[in-house]
């Protein structure tokens, strides 16, 4: 199972180590540093690195490498999933997951890690349970603790850990009972030069924030559940009920959680809300190239597209760009060759465009590669797949909760080739 964990920052310092079995010397990380050196960018460090006696499995999140050391045959996905859980837990505890924050809370971090694994076996990874065991630091609690001498460590058995609903703690009480659900869809797409779609798929999630007293039993039904043929559920969802009735029935965890994630890949169901018109030419006179892009709405179901950002990695031969946007602001970094244009909202009457010239390296031939345009955008109140919640009911408790459903569509990996 998982032997040790090292946290390494981007400058290559090991700033935290935790061992669940015998101590593994940190020199094992040298193999990791070697691999890091070979990979030009942090993102490209291979996730599984063999060393003579151990295996290093790593994830790179928030500019920190989480490197797990294992010694025997362990499912790598199990390790990587666990590392993600560690990241999520840190974020949950401290709001952000960064080197200074981890250093500021090193003892809590250490205690939490100790509770998460026992001898390398996962022990308590649900944030509900962890928070019962070790309370997250708050300013108030720190002050109180210093005065009263009490501690962050809870002293009763984490009840949830043994019940049939390990994800929910008992004795939850709220004055305002509320349940909010966000349906968020991300479009991953590749659009080719001519504007036709090569692949498009939707990664959807339903994130929930449930603050309900007692042991509520919720059911959520959809207008069009047929859309959901590829779903992953939170453990709380009763699978049988979904199989037979296509209804989500569950006792929710307390607080924020991801109820389900789904995947829509049938091409005809994926609407592409934006288009990009581009004309990029590296064959100008006097080492000048022309550059022009326009962004416009396509299938938006009448909603406004906002938060549009255009990012493009220009070829090395581009020395500088002199561009004028019709709206928004743009920057070009001559070192990294990254062009970024913060467009904002798209007004269908007056389409945003970015025009100008590129100064190219004199004498150099036409670059081999064409820049790819990476697009980000948001559409409020729309789930692009057309998924709609029909109703939400609560059983098991007597009070009447506030309920709310929000929809949003975002660009995931949305790429336009030129």
């Amino acid at each position: 199972m998982i032997h040790s964990l090292f946290l390494i920052n981007s400058s290559g310092d090991i700033f935290l180590e935790k061992h669940w079995k015998s101590v593994v010397s940190r020199s094992v990380c040298d193999y990791f540093f070697e691999a890091q050196e070979r990979a030009t960018e942090a993102e490209n460090v291979p996730p599984v690195i063999p060393t003579p006696h151990h295996y290093l499995l790593s994830v790179y999140r928030h500019k920190i490498f989480f490197v797990a050391v294992i010694q025997t045959e362990v499912p790598p996905l199990f390790v990587i999933e666990f590392l993600h859980r560690v990241v999520d837990t840190f974020q949950d505890y401290f709001g952000v997951c960064s080197e200074p924050v981890i250093k500021d809370n090193v003892v809590v971090v250490y205690e939490v890690l100790e509770e998460m694994l026992d001898n390398g076996f996962p022990l308590a990874t649900e944030s509900n349970i962890l928070k019962e065991l070790i309370k997250p630091p708050t300013i108030l609690r720190t002050v109180v603790n210093t005065i009263t001498g009490s501690t962050n460590v809870g002293d009763q058995l984490p009840t949830g850990q043994l019940s049939v609903v390990p994800w929910r703690r008992t004795g939850v009480k709220y004055t305002n009972n509320e349940a909010y659900f966000d349906v968020i869809e991300e479009i991953d797409a590749i659009i080719d030069k001519s504007g036709s779609t090569i692949t498009a798929e939707i990664q959807g999630v339903i994130d929930a924030c449930v603050k309900l007293t007692g042991m509520p039993d919720l059911t959520l039904s959809f207008m069009n559940p047929r859309l959901l043929d590829d779903v992953s559920f939170h453990p709380c969802v009763r699978f049988k009920r979904w199989e037979s009735e296509r209804i989500l029935s569950f006792i929710p965890p307390d607080g924020n959680f991801r109820l389900l994630s789904y995947h829509v890949s049938a091409q005809n169901l994926v609407a592409i809300p934006v288009y990009v018109k581009h004309s990029i030419s590296f064959r100008g006179s006097n080492s000048l190239g022309r550059f022009e892009i326009t962004v416009g709405p396509k299938q938006t179901m009448g909603k406004t597209i906002e938060g549009v950002t255009v990012l493009s990695q220009m070829p090395r031969g581009v020395l500088n760009m002199s561009l004028t946007p019709s709206q928004g602001t743009h920057t070009f970094d001559p070192v990294t060759k990254m062009l970024s244009w913060d467009v904002g909202k798209i007004n269908p009457q007056k389409l945003p465009s970015l025009k100008g010239t590129m100064s190219l390296q004199a004498g150099a031939s036409k670059p081999d590669e064409n820049p790819t345009i990476n697009l980000q955008f948001k559409i409020q109140q729309l789930a692009i797949s057309g998924l709609k919640v029909n109703r939400l009911d609560m059983y098991g408790e007597k009070y009447k909760p506030f309920k709310g459903i929000k929809y949003m569509t975002k660009a995931g990996k949305f790429q336009v080739r030129t």
Binding site: F15, S58, V106, N119, P315, Q415
Partner: protein
């Protein structure tokens, strides 16, 4: 007020200061001090000197302080074992605490202290905790057994903890079950022989129930454990699959992949005709696709596994090509994996899309990725014949970009395309030649030289081109040198008149000026070949090459089957069985897919059906440049080469005139022939040194080749008495069967044990399975006087009438003489029916193996045979069992063999030989499965004699 304050201490006497604080009376101060100690520990500072002071803080009611001290203890107890003893009492006391949290914490911490002395004290508390009323304590204790086992395995066994742990599998609490399974699995890994996880239908049922209720991590352990179980029939397999399928919708990707493993494995047992089989196939696709939308690290592991899955069951993802399209900001390790899978999924239906994508990738920035993309285009051409033309034109487009590494990669793959489709795309050679100068990588240069040599007759200036390479011969890498040598020899054989000087030059460069033994040997072989028998040389060097097959780097079917059992593990990421890389190889049991059985069939005995049916896709790998020599020599050195006997004189005189003699015959029809041209003889020194061994080596080589096909005779069993004298009025017949140079005969020995003379012998066979019949009458020339014996060889043919006998190889014979007619029956060994042309072409073999349904496969074990693979294959060859391919998979030699019976039945065989293990595994596939048993017996007799 953050913890970072713990990191800033005054430089001098840091430890001293902490010591003082730890011994302070104030609780709060103590706690702060311990926190500082822990903080130092986390960043790797050595604070072990504080051990006694920290342990002193252990006796406390404050839970946080207690936990902190425990943390410290776990880290340093090893280096301070004597001190750690001081802590034991507190642990033992805490194990009795009314608060289950404390009990669990104590037993958990104790297990982490890796000190022998402490573990002894641990046993009693652990025993109690394993039976604790609180499941939280029980599940913690279960893990503790695994910890203890790691420290002192003997102790755990002696104390009977393993049995207690096994009992916990039936615990009422699913979390306890999951932890017990996890602990047992971990222990089992270091004890491969013990059947700790002895699964039976009852325990499986318990695990399946717990599966629904335990945490995601527990589900992984349980699923991995289930995957080791072999259901007794397809019905049980199906019911387990049904209960595992819901796990495919789990949010945790590790759970999903473990579930996929169980399903992939058990599916093997389901009949393809079942509706459920189809349903299951459909259910597997979406979760695999979903894994690809996860974080890149997860994607990577998922992709490595999908690579295995698409090789085993391509039908699952055949419609999902698009999800493997590469996004430009995918990490490089994901890009490369996606590309691999794209090629595997490429088919006629989607090839247009795939090609367009690949072309797009070939203009990306990352060099490694671009190279692989170009290579992928070539692989598509080889895989999907209909698209070859488009692929070639795409490659030509790419060559036009003149991007150096793209051009080089393209040339390498075009060489492979030529080997797959000879004489089809040679029109592009001109374009390739234009780029000759820009090639600087050995592989590309070698590929280009190969092309020039192979198509020398169509390239007008082939000699100039090759000559230009020759100038810097010694600066080239070995790969290029070898290729250049071969190419020039080919050129010479095609255009002998203009290229004598060139070939002379290259031979002398290779043999005299090089210190590379491979190069020198190859040079000498060519030289000798050209000088002795140019016609043979032509046949050897310009022999038709076998076509390369569609797939490269496919995984060996047996290995693939094993890897399918390891889906989701490191083995699946490395595509190697754990035995190949797990530390020390300990605890590795080979896993194999369960055999497909129908519920009404009783499972075969474990000896005859241990391994899963190989799927029959036998890979054929595009040979790398280095293999070409091997290719040349292996190729068609069979019967067509009329093995030229090496005269002793030519060996001795070799030094003087290596090439002279042969050229006449090569160019006999050319009047201005060079019969009298004297080739510059190599300086005497070199051949004098190596001449003799080469000579003998070569004659060995030719012995081998001439031997094939004419080698006389398969194994002949000793004669046995078929008809005892007392049953035949004094005539005793013993005999045996032989097969020699294609003819079968029955060798008889007739003895007259009667008192009168015997005359008028005749013989007749009853109808039999293979139509064996005497080809000539039985001729006993003189009368057989009493006590006289004659030996007769009766030629047989197989054109007699056929009737299926039981057993199959039963032969009923009637012998007549002047006294009476006698009947007897005998069993003939099947190998007398193996014909000489039983060597199947590789491609045919692959196709046939695939084609024959798995039900027709039979497995046998040949025991107590100590031959090595080489000897086995020679031995079998003499009985007309031909080895078509041989490969080595993780130490085992796999021989793929074929044989043909006189009635045209082909039998394909896979023989697995493990060095050091006297038992061989034989898998036979045949369209007439009833012969398998007898073929096996034939193997057995041949190998053991």
């Amino acid at each position: 007020m953050t913890d970072s304050k713990y990191f800033t201490t005054t430089k001098k006497g840091e430890i001293f200061e902490l010591k003082a604080e730890l011994n302070s009376d104030k609780k709060e101060k103590k706690k702060e001090a311990v926190k500082k100690v822990i903080a130092s520990m986390t960043v790797g500072k050595d604070v072990s000197a504080l051990f006694p002071d920290v342990v002193n803080c252990m006796q406390t009611d404050n839970l946080e302080l207690k936990k902190l001290v425990y943390l410290y203890l776990m880290n340093y107890a090893k280096s301070q074992p004597d001190m750690a003893i001081m802590a034991v009492n507190t642990f033992v006391k805490d194990c009795e605490d009314p608060n289950p949290l404390i009990r669990a914490l104590a037993v958990r911490t104790m297990g982490c202290i890796r000190v022998d002395k402490i573990t002894e004290y641990l046993c009693e508390p652990l025993r109690k905790c394993l039976k604790d009323e609180d499941p939280y304590v029980r599940k913690t204790a279960a893990v503790c057994v695994a910890k203890l086992h790691d420290i002192n395995a003997q102790l755990v066994e002696d104390q009977g903890f393993l049995d207690t742990l096994k009992d916990l599998i039936s615990d009422s609490n699913p979390m306890v079950v999951a932890n017990a399974v996890a602990a047992l699995s971990e222990i089992a890994e270091s004890h491969p022989s013990s059947n700790l996880l002895d699964l039976n239908p009852q325990s499986i049922n318990k695990l399946l129930t717990a599966l629904n209720e335990c945490t995601e991590w527990g589900q992984i352990f349980i699923l991995d454990c289930l995957a080791n179980y072999t259901p007794k029939d397809d019905r049980e397999a199906q019911s387990i699959c049904e209960r595992v399928t819901p796990r495919l919708s789990h949010a945790n990707s590790a759970v999903v992949l473990s579930a996929v493993k169980v399903l992939m494995k058990f599916m093997e047992m389901l009949s393809k005709d079942l509706d459920y089989y189809g349903t299951l196939l459909k259910k597997l696709a979406p979760p695999l696709v979903t894994l690809l939308s996860a974080e890149p690290e997860l994607q990577y592991v998922a992709l490595r596994n999908i690579n295995l899955i698409v090789q085993k069951r391509p039908e699952i993802l055949k419609h999902e090509m698009k999800v493997f399209f590469v996004k430009y900001n995918d990490p490089i390790y994901v890009k490369l994996e996606k590309l691999d899978i794209m090629i595997r999924l490429a088919s006629q239906a989607n090839i247009a899309q795939v090609l367009a994508e690949l072309k797009e990738y070939a203009t990306e920035v990352d060099v490694d990725f671009v190279r692989k993309a170009v290579r992928a285009i070539g692989r598509c051409a080889i895989k999907v014949e209909q698209s070859a033309e488009r692929c070639v034109s795409t490659l030509l487009d790419l060559i036009q970009t003149k991007v150096n590494y793209v051009v080089q990669e393209a040339i390498v793959v075009i060489k492979d395309i030529f080997r797959k489709y000879p004489n089809k795309y040679e029109s592009v050679i001109a374009t390739l030649c234009e780029n000759l100068d820009s090639l600087d990588e050995p592989e590309a240069r070698a590929a280009m030289i190969w092309i020039v040599g192979e198509y020398a007759e169509r390239i007008d200036n082939a000699d100039e081109l090759l000559e230009s390479f020759l100038e810097g011969f010694h600066d080239e890498s070995t790969q290029v040198q070898l290729q250049l040598l071969t190419a020039i020899v080919k050129l010479f054989l095609k255009k002998p008149t203009e290229t004598q000087e060139l070939v002379q030059q290259v031979l002398s460069l290779a043999t005299q000026d090089s210190d590379n033994p491979d190069l020198r040997d190859r040079g000498y072989i060519y030289w000798r070949l050209l000088s002795t028998d140019p016609v043979a040389a032509k046949e050897v060097v310009l022999a038709e090459k076998p076509l390369i097959s569609e797939e490269t780097d496919l995984i060996e079917p047996t290995l693939l089957d094993e890897l399918i059992c390891y889906i989701g593990t490191l083995a699946s990421v490395y595509h190697k069985p754990p035995s190949a890389f797990v530390e020390g190889g300990r605890g590795v049991v080979h896993k194999s897919l369960p055999p497909r059985t129908a519920s009404n069939e009783s499972t075969e005995s474990p000896e005859t059906a241990p391994a899963g049916a190989p799927t029959g896709e036998q890979p054929d790998v595009i040979p790398t440049q280095g293999d070409l020599l091997g290719d040349l020599l292996n190729l068609d050195l069979g019967p067509p080469v009329s093995g030229p006997p090496l005269t002793t004189s030519s060996v001795q005189m070799g030094a003087v005139d290596l090439l002279g003699g042969g050229l006449d015959s090569l160019m006999g029809d050319e009047p201005e022939g060079i019969g009298d041209t004297n080739f510059g003889a190599p300086p005497p020194a070199a051949p004098a040194r190596v001449g003799a061994p080469i000579g003998s080596g070569l004659s060995d080589l030719f012995d081998l080749t001439s031997g094939v096909g004419t080698l006389s005779g398969s194994y002949v069993p000793p004669k046995a008495v078929w008809l005892p004298a007392m049953k035949a009025k004094g005539l005793e017949i013993s005999g045996t069967f032989t097969r020699q140079v294609g003819s079968i005969s029955m060798d008889l020995q007739l003895t007259n044990k009667a008192l009168q003379v015997m005359t008028d012998f005749a013989i007749q066979f009853n109808r039999n399975s293979f139509g064996l019949a005497p080809a000539a009458p039985l001729q006993v020339h003189a009368p057989l006087s009493p006590n006289q014996t004659v030996e007769i060889s009766l030629p047989l043919n197989t054109v007699g009438s056929v009737m299926k006998m039981d057993p199959l190889n039963n032969l009923q014979v009637a012998v007549k003489n002047n006294i009476d007619i006698f009947y007897f029956s005998t069993l003939y060994p099947l190998h007398i029916l193996f014909v000489e042309d039983g060597k199947m072409d590789r491609q045919m073999f692959l196709a046939t193996w695939k084609d024959i349904p798995n039900e027709n496969e039979a497995q046998f074990q040949i025991r107590d045979c100590s031959l090595n693979a080489e000897a086995v294959s020679t031995k079998l060859q003499s009985s007309n069992i031909f080895t078509i391919a041989k490969r080595n998979v993780e130490g085992q030699d796999m021989l793929y063999q074929s044989l043909k019976l006189t009635n045209g039945i082909w039998v394909l065989a896979e023989l697995r030989i493990q060095p050091g293990n006297p038992s061989f595994m034989l898998s036979l596939k045949c369209r007439a499965p009833e012969v398998s048993q007898h073929v096996y017996q034939a193997y057995e007799t041949i190998l053991k004699n």
